[in-house]
């Protein structure tokens, strides 16, 4: 699965994106965030307050309980501040 990171989520993890084989036991957006948080210190800091990290699944906004299903791309990022 292609995983992208933006803004301070990207900075904390130290990567703009990566290709990861996600275990089948990880079924939702929130579960993936929790699973990523265990991968290392930068990940832990990025997801330390999971409520402020947003996600998009295949370029559409997703909720914590949205199923990953067959999505090919997921992005994690802070609340948006454009406009």
């Amino acid at each position: 699965m292609k995983i992208l990171y933006f803004a301070w989520v990207r900075e904390r993890i130290g990567l703009a994106g990566e290709e990861i084989a996600v275990p089948e036991t990880v079924r939702t957006v929130a579960e993936l965030a929790g699973w990523l948080a265990a991968r290392g210190e930068g990940y832990a800091r990025a997801f330390e307050n999971p409520r402020v990290v947003r996600a998009a699944l295949d370029r559409r906004h997703a909720k914590p309980d949205t199923a990953l299903a067959g999505a090919s791309e997921i992005a994690f990022f802070p609340p948006m501040t454009g406009g």
Partner: protein
């Protein structure tokens, strides 16, 4: 005509508005919103040197296109243009443009405001503030969530 563009370069608000109206006689109202980089002098803070706008390529254009579709479903629009810049932007420069055209002013105003409110909370852009002493990501504002919420 409905157009969404994500670009690093500046835009010409007048040319974009003119493109919506030229050769037509059914448009009665054109509302243009330009959002600029402002040196807001946060209380006690150092002056803003620049903003750097990061975005999610692909999704930014897709999400704004969905918002334009939602605006068209709510108001009788005859045209709309949304342009959002990314990259480094200094105070006084343009950031975002929304132009709406309709037979009537109420629809043009409402659609432009709707698009701006939703852009703020849904379009995948993030602002990094570069000040003389620090670089900080701008925090999302509760007031923006409230502004977007009034259209639900």
């Amino acid at each position: 005509m409905f157009t969404v563009r994500i670009q690093s370069g500046d835009f010409d608000a007048a040319a974009e508005a003119a493109r919506l109206t030229q050769g037509r006689t059914d448009i009665g109202a054109v509302v243009t919103f330009a959002g600029l980089c402002r040196d807001d002098d946060a209380a006690g803070g150092a002056p803003l040197v620049a903003l750097t706008l990061e975005h999610y390529p692909g999704m930014a254009e897709e999400e704004i296109t969905r918002l334009v579709g939602e605006a068209r479903a709510r108001w009788p629009l005859l045209g709309a243009t949304v342009i959002h810049r990314y990259g480094r932007i200094v105070p006084g420069d343009n950031i975002v443009l929304v132009v709406t055209a309709s037979p009537h002013r109420g629809a043009a105003f409402a659609a432009a405001e709707f698009l701006m409110d939703w852009l703020k909370t849904r379009a995948p852009f993030w602002k990094l503030e570069e000040r003389e002493d620090t670089n900080d990501w701008v925090a999302a504002k509760d007031s923006d969530d409230e502004a977007a919420g009034r259209w639900e």
